[in-house]
């Protein structure tokens, strides 16, 4: 659905994108992660036909961004990271305006607009002025706007930034609904936990280069270097830590700030049930036991620091 080949973009001396190769298949929800200035917005803008690549190729729905821009625009919905609102337009007028620009025939416009308003739960704001909407509602309005022409591909640049937790959850639910409708979605975000629930693939980009691209589970597996188990004991934590550190299956064990014994397992050791058995056999009383999972934040931190070859 989306493909880039050696995509490069330079601004003067600064290289924002370096030979980026990206493939996103139909139905994928692709999370695009990277620190500030990594080149996420630049990539998305090129795909949205707003920026010309300096060199390299990019295809959306099999159409090239160089030369077939207008055809691509009919097939994509793009929500920019920053955009303004029109003064003195109601929500319906706003959607009608964009509907007309997307060439939706006047007769169908009303039903289409009702449809997207239903989907985004904005019905109750139908007659409100666009510039009086709250930020979360504006974001939802932006999503309604790009859904008008039923695009196959959605390019969303940080759709949840600046939203409160409630609005964020609402947007996430909306995106899940879109996923179920079979759309291909490229979504960039800083909020990793959000992508985790939503995406089946992620791409991690730093300084214009793609460090990783593939299924989410693989990204996690890459950074997983042995699980960590944390145990709280009624007493004698230090002695327990020293004992555990000697264990064959354990890489290291130490006390953390909260008084837990942090047990780092050796690689290839998945089953940590030996830990409570061992401690009980040594006469310790276990209050609590937690499995620490490597999550996207970790993956992000490790991958962007170049810890993965």
């Amino acid at each position: 659905m989306i493909e880039t080949r050696y995509l490069t973009k330079t601004y003067g001396k600064l290289t924002a994108l370096k030979e980026l190769n990206l493939t996103i298949d139909q139905g994928d929800i692709y999370g695009f992660i990277g620190p500030n200035g990594a080149g996420k917005t630049t990539t998305i803008r090129i795909l949205a036909t707003l920026l010309r690549p300096t060199s390299g190729q990019a295809f959306v729905c099999g159409l090239s961004v160089n030369g077939q821009a207008r055809e691509i625009r009919r097939k994509i919905g793009y929500v920019p990271d920053e955009f303004g609102t029109y003064e003195d337009m109601t929500v319906t007028e706003y959607l009608e305006f964009f509907g007309a620009l997307y060439g939706i025939p006047p007769k169908e416009r009303k039903t289409v607009i009702q449809g997207v308003l239903d989907l985004t739960d904005l019905n109750f704001k139908e007659h409100a002025q666009v510039d009086s909407l709250s930020r979360g509602m504006r974001q939802r309005l932006a999503l309604s706007r790009v859904l008008l022409h039923d695009p196959q591909v959605l390019l969303l640049d940080e759709p949840a930034s600046g939203l409160d937790p409630r609005a964020r959850i609402e947007i996430r639910e909306l995106l899940k609904e879109l996923r179920n409708m079979g759309k291909t979605i490229l979504i960039s975000s800083h909020i990793l936990s959000e992508l985790r629930e939503l995406c089946n693939k992620v791409g991690i980009i730093e300084q214009g280069s793609l460090l990783f691209s593939g299924p989410l589970s693989e990204a996690i597996a890459r950074v997983r270097k042995g699980d960590v188990v944390r145990v709280r004991l009624r007493e004698g934590s230090e002695g327990a830590a020293a004992l555990l550190a000697e264990h064959d299956f354990v890489n290291a064990a130490q006390l953390d700030e909260e008084g837990f014994v942090e047990v780092r397992l050796r690689e290839q050791i998945d089953d940590y049930t030996f830990v409570p058995e061992f401690l009980v056999s040594k006469g310790y009383k276990i209050l609590e036991l937690r499995e620490e999972d490597v999550d996207l934040e970790d993956a992000f931190m490790k991958l962007t620091r170049g810890q993965v070859s």
């Binding site: 803008r45 949205a48 036909t49 707003l50 920026l51 010309r52 821009a69 207008r70 055809e71 625009r73 009919r74 994509i76 793009y78 920019p80 920053e82 955009f83 303004g84 609102t85 029109y86 003064e87 003195d88 337009m89 007028e93 009608e96 305006f97 964009f98 007309a100 620009l101 997307y102 060439g103 006047p106 706007r145």
Partner: protein
């Protein structure tokens, strides 16, 4: 020194931009090239040389005056607005930099740049001085006048920048005020209001102290103003007044600065327009009142009848029309004013009312005929009206795209599959519709005075042909400018500069009829006009001018089309 840190920051950001130097080089380059081409050839009598030097000096003076009046607002209009929009004003105020220091810092740094430009021209002036023909005293007076205009215009710009929300608003206000200042004596004089006002008992008139343009003329041609004196003695009045006024403006701006936000929200153009709307709506609300009366007669609720009427008027569907046109004529602030047309109507009524007053005025001197029967007046009046229309439309079109870019809404349009043709047609037709009533004014003028037998009917025919083509060309050139420049401020300055350029260029190329801003001048003639043997030649010339405009429009359109994706794509 007060304001030193602000000055430092400002000058730093100016000096970091390479275009500052490019601009200074260009400015000097143009002046030098002009001077060299006009420099008197060898072998002419010294009286001729002196004459030439004086005329170079004089026209150079006018040119510098105009340039200053154009540049000073452009330099200052964004001085405070940019801080307000970027929310850095609060930060500045929080650092303990007082409002006086901020305003003064902005003022002095921008004034410094302008004065530096003037300073750069001094060597050229000294070169002229060596030719004779002008005295050092005249040079001194000219420089004093120029400097004082710079002082005043910069202060005005900074002051208006404090008041306005957008740089474009400050810029337009500043241009209007300066234009009025420069044109005031001529208007007053042509209305006979300046004559006879005397400053001193020795018979020195007040005229030469009113405005810099007039003063300049006085400095160069004292004999046309006073019979007895050779050199003006009151040349210092304008400089003194302008320095005093500038100090006042800067201090007033500093006083307003901490309350700038509150003033903005009170004084926003939108609010003013809405207030105007309300008043006009009340004056003209005949239909709802009639409905209310009707409803009352039928025993219904009059409030409901009005509400229904309003609701019907407020529904504004797009239908199958061009969405860009729809937006231009329904959402745009100007068209939004439900009573914009009525305002136009009032203007027209006032204008024609003034004609009838003029007609009844007794002639100034016994032998003179009434001013209104002079075809030259109509030529000038219609030309000015047409020129203002062209200027207005160019500026309006120049602000459309750049404003959307500034507001961040252009990027939304850019991702739709909108065609260039749709966009240009929508914008052009929308702008033309919004000013269509005003565009009728020169027509009505000509119709009235043709009916009175003071103008030839041919004027009407030519006008009907040339106004639409001129307005279309003006819209397209405004759109192109708007696509090319990133900010509204730059787009407006570029639009106005383009009009000024177009006004002077045809004179240089000896093709007066191709003058876009002065199109209407050549198509108006008195009852005997376009008659006799000259008719064919004049018609041909006017026709040629028209063709040039049509071709120009096509060229503009293809330029817009060629760069459309690229310009719109730079939306972010």
């Amino acid at each position: 020194m007060i304001g030193a840190p602000v000055i430092q920051r400002e000058l730093l950001s100016f000096s970091r931009r390479p275009r500052t130097y490019a601009f200074q080089t260009l400015f000097l380059g143009v002046l030098t090239v002009g001077l060299i081409t006009w420099w008197p050839p060898v072998g002419v009598s010294s009286a001729d040389v002196a004459d030439r030097a004086r005329s170079i000096f004089e026209y150079g003076g006018y040119l510098q005056l105009l340039l200053l009046a154009m540049l000073a607002p452009a330099f200052t209009a964004s001085a405070i607005t940019e801080e307000k929009r970027g929310n850095t004003l609060d930060l500045l105020l929080l650092t303990g930099t007082g409002p006086v220091a901020i305003v003064l810092g902005k003022y002095i740094s921008r004034l410094g740049i302008l004065l530096f430009l003037l300073f750069l021209t001094l060597p050229l002036n000294f070169a002229l001085l060596s030719l004779g023909g002008i005295s050092a005293g005249t040079l001194l007076k000219e420089v004093a006048l120029l400097c004082s205009l710079a002082v005043l215009a910069t202060a005005l710009g900074v002051f208006l920048s404090t008041l306005a929300t957008r740089p474009a608003g400050a810029l337009l206000l500043c241009y209007t005020a300066l234009g009025a200042l420069l044109a005031a004596p001529y208007l007053l004089k042509s209305l006979g209001l300046l004559q006879g006002a005397v400053l001193t008992s020795s018979g020195v008139p007040i005229e030469p102290t009113v405005s810099p343009l007039w003063d300049m003329h006085y400095v160069f041609h004292p004999s046309r103003h006073v019979a007895t004196e050779s050199e003006p003695t009151y040349w210092w009045v304008f400089p003194t007044v302008s320095v005093a006024a500038s100090v006042g403006l800067v201090l007033f701006a500093a006083l307003l600065l901490p309350r700038a936000r509150a003033i903005n929200s009170r004084l926003s153009a939108r609010r003013l327009l809405e207030a105007l709307d309300f008043v006009l709506g009340y004056l003209f609300a005949l239909k709802p009142r009639y409905r209310a009366l009707l409803a009352r007669a039928r025993g219904q609720d009059p409030g409901e009848a009005i509400a229904k009427h309003v609701a019907k008027k407020e529904a504004r569907p797009i239908g199958r029309g061009n969405p860009i046109y729809w937006k231009e004529v329904t959402v745009n602030t100007v068209a939004r004013m439900k009573h914009w047309w009525r305002l136009n109507l009032i203007l027209i009524v006032l204008m024609f009312g003034s004609y009838s007053v003029f007609r009844r005025l007794p002639p100034l001197s016994p032998g003179e005929t009434n001013l209104l029967s002079d075809p030259m007046l109509h030529k000038l009046l219609v030309a000015v009206l047409g020129g203002l229309l062209v200027l207005l439309i160019t500026v309006m079109a120049a602000t459309t795209v750049s404003r959307e870019r500034e507001d961040g809404t252009l990027i939304l349009l850019a991702t739709t599959p909108m065609e260039c043709g749709t966009y240009v047609a929508g914008k052009t037709l929308g702008i033309l519709r919004n000013v269509s009533f005003l565009a009728l004014v020169p027509f009505l003028h000509v119709v009235i005075f043709t009916a009175m037998g003071l103008l030839t009917p041919w004027s009407l025919v030519f006008l009907a042909l040339s106004i639409p083509s001129a307005l279309v060309a003006a819209t397209l050139q405004g759109l192109l400018v708007s696509l090319m420049f990133r900010t509204t401020l730059k787009a407006i300055v570029a639009g106005i500069a383009l009009i000024v350029f177009q006004f002077f260029l045809p004179a240089v190329c000896c093709l007066p009829q191709c003058n876009l801003p002065a199109t209407c001048y050549y198509v108006i003639e008195g009852p005997g006009g376009f008659g006799g043997t000259a008719t064919a030649a004049i018609t041909l010339a006017i026709g040629f001018g028209l063709c040039v405009q049509v071709v120009y429009s096509f060229v503009l359109y293809s330029l817009i089309r060629g760069g459309f994706d690229q310009y719109i794509g730079r939306a972010g």
